[in-house]
């Protein structure tokens, strides 16, 4: 990379269902929080990138009222649709170009305002799938889950173990939405079924929430903080449309991860990365993510969860914060993973700290994780 860029501040809301706050108040709090965390003021910020989508916000030009609350007014700013982690990658590009030095990135969704599962049906091919009306994000994920499970002989119990791990981890995370310290595999398997095999506890909850980070070039980062979290690598990729891709694996995540590993000079992610924060919108996706990230061979994701390798005290902890199963304010979810990874590196993950020098954060968007973005973060 032409310049080194670091995360120097962050903030997130207490994610919950039906937050008693307007969207504007919610984003104001996190934007102010991130600047406060970095110890800088709005005047120091060169550029602001926000993330939200029109359909999920239930309005055209979704940033119309929130960009002022974020403090983007009279700034060189823009809005990325979809996940905040994509917005972070855009902010990174803006700093790498040398045009800007300090960027504020904000992402939010209030899932309680407009039903996100209803919205998901508008993402399908309007000429065919949408007319049939069978598909939404959950039913498509059910197809993905069955294809994956059938191909590699993964059992529903193994998928439920992912949910148990993440929901228990979420219990330690103050910001998480769905905390279940005593949840069991039986409880997960007995939870309400939506589309076989997707159950209430194996899919992410509908959350309201927001988060923000501050990025800075090397010189500014050193002025701002003693604990910069360096962005060592980034990669993103979009898969083909639902009909034209292999649903039993996450090709685009694999490509995104390869690009990020190459940039960060990571050859063996299992050994070289200490903690992983990934966006698993459904429990089975976490197993697929293990494989796409190269943590195990294809189809061997189930072994990692069975052996407890990805537990908080395992060899490669995945989602010690509880992941997307713990809270899913859709557009913010990926950026929250970036924050959680940065917290681990800064040693600020109270209650779920893992000794970490290098961390991976992953964000996704779309039907069956069609778009993926991967960040590799590191300490000095």
């Amino acid at each position: 990379m032409a310049r080194r860029v670091a995360i120097v501040g962050y903030a997130q809301s207490h994610h919950q269902h039906d937050m008693p706050m307007t969207r504007e108040d919610m984003v104001f709090e996190v934007a102010k929080g991130a600047l406060h965390n970095a110890g800088i003021s709005r005047e120091d910020v060169d550029t602001v990138i926000t993330a939200s989508t029109d359909f999920l916000d239930g309005r055209t030009i979704s940033n119309l009222y929130t960009s002022m609350a974020v403090g983007a007014y009279l700034k060189d700013e823009s809005k990325v649709e979809e996940d905040g982690a994509f917005a972070a990658s855009y902010a990174l590009m803006r700093i790498l170009s040398g045009v800007h030095d300090i960027a504020l990135v904000e992402a939010h969704t209030q899932g309680s305002v407009v039903n996100p599962h209803l919205v998901s049906s508008y993402t399908f091919d309007p000429l065919f799938e949408r007319q049939l009306g069978f598909l939404n994000d959950i039913s498509a994920a059910a197809l993905q889950a069955r294809m994956y499970m059938n191909k590699y002989g993964v059992s529903e119990e193994q998928v439920a173990m992912v949910a148990v791990k993440n929901l228990m981890n979420a219990a330690d995370n103050l910001n998480a939405h769905r905390k279940m310290p005593d949840v069991t595999v039986e409880e997960v398997l007995n939870s309400k079924i939506y589309y076989d095999p997707i159950r209430e506890l194996t899919m992410s909850p509908v959350s309201d929430g927001a988060c923000a980070i501050v990025l800075a070039c090397e010189q500014k980062a050193r002025e701002i903080t003693d604990k910069p979290v360096w962005i060592e690598g980034v990669g993103s990729c979009q898969d083909g449309y639902l009909r034209d891709r292999s649903l039993y694996k996450l090709d685009s995540l694999q490509k995104a991860a390869q690009d990020a590993y190459e940039m960060a000079r990571v050859s063996d992610p299992f050994a070289q990365i200490d903690v992983f924060e990934v966006s698993e919108k459904y429990a089975h996706e976490e197993l697929m993510i293990y494989e796409a990230l190269g943590l195990c061979r294809e189809g061997e994701g189930k072994a990692l969860i069975e052996k407890g390798t990805t537990e908080k005290d395992g060899e490669i902890p995945v989602n010690p914060s509880g992941g997307a199963l713990g809270a899913d304010p859709i557009c913010a979810t990926g950026l929250i993973r970036v924050i959680e990874a940065a917290k681990q590196i800064r040693g600020e993950a109270n209650g779920y700290q893992i000794p970490a020098y290098r961390a991976l954060a992953h964000g996704q968007f779309g039907i069956c994780a069609q778009k993926n973005v991967v960040f590799i973060l590191g300490s000095e």
Binding site: R59, I61, M68, V80
Partner: protein, 412 residues
Amino acid sequence: MRNVAIIGCGQTKHSARRRDVNLAEMVGDAVWNALEDAQVTSQEVDAFTVGNMQGFGGVAQPEQWLGDWIGASGKPVLRIATGGSTGGCVVQAAYYAVASGLYNIAIATAWEKHSDSKEPGATTGLAHVALGNTINMINCGVSFKHLLSMTLVGAAAGVACYQAMYYMHRSGCKVEHLDMVAAKDRRNAAKNKYAHLQWPGCTPEDIAKTEWVAYPFRYGHICPASDGASAIVLACEDIARKRCKKPAWIKGLAAYSDEENQLMSEGAGGIGILDASQQIGARMSAIKAYRMAGIKDPQKEIDVAEIYQPFPSQELIFAERLGLFDEGTAWRALEKGETDINGRMPCDPSGGVNATNAIGSSALQRILECALQIMGKAEEHQVLKEVHNAVATGWGGATNYIAVTVLGDSFY
């Protein structure tokens, strides 16, 4: 900093109803045209930036469905949407993608297919923009005054009416001047084979015969709602010099937003921008973009401007915001024919948004048209004078989002 240039442009024909293609095919056409123009293969493209106003076409995140049609599968795709300025912001994102050093060749594409939605977005769109917030407001309680101010704003045309009146009041511009702008744009559009409203030989008198919509706008002043797509290929310096005889360099860019959107004026609890034609964001963006481009006197150094003007008053307002004319004098220059296609400072030789408005695509087309003028590929609507520097704008949100891009044939 890496230098970035536009090496290829592609558009589709714009019209009210493109029934011959679906959305994916239409965007595909624009992208493949751009690739062909740039002599770049789809495999060589490293990244895509895309955008449109998804509410107007009724498909959420359409790039996920149509990615395969534009060769984006297996590539990074960044989606940007900021209202009318979307296309400008999409190109700026592609610029940063290449300037960052992460990618060498990027495609920026933006589109709109208004006819796919129940109501055309170009004129009623802003009603959605205003009313969208009521869901949230009803949840949290909404005052009658607040509700009124949003519903009475009168969509995009309404906002532009207020803005035009402020400008006309302080500058002395008359409705007749708006007729002249609209007539010029329709005439220019007749020379642009991709434009929507083409009217060869249109005169201000023709426009003055059309019905009043809302003072100071007549039917003939207002942009159409178009179906169409456009795309640009951007490349880093090495590739641009090898592949393109005359690349159009992106020399400066900025997208400062205004202090608040116009729906937040004092009736809605905002600080209240009194004069909606001030557009401070546009001024700030222009200053920064010119500074990056090394342009000290835009009146002398800019050769052609492509201004985002769904309403004719905006061509005058933004020409002044860009520093192309002194404050309050753009309409006098118009009277003298300075903004004509063969004038001293041609504004919108392509006909601009006033003649063609496929919302997402509109601001991208402004940059694309500047590139064509610099590359000398604008065919019939190529301006007479030699073009060294050109400036393009985008205007979005509820008057508050701006994107200014300065292009040139070389670096200073």
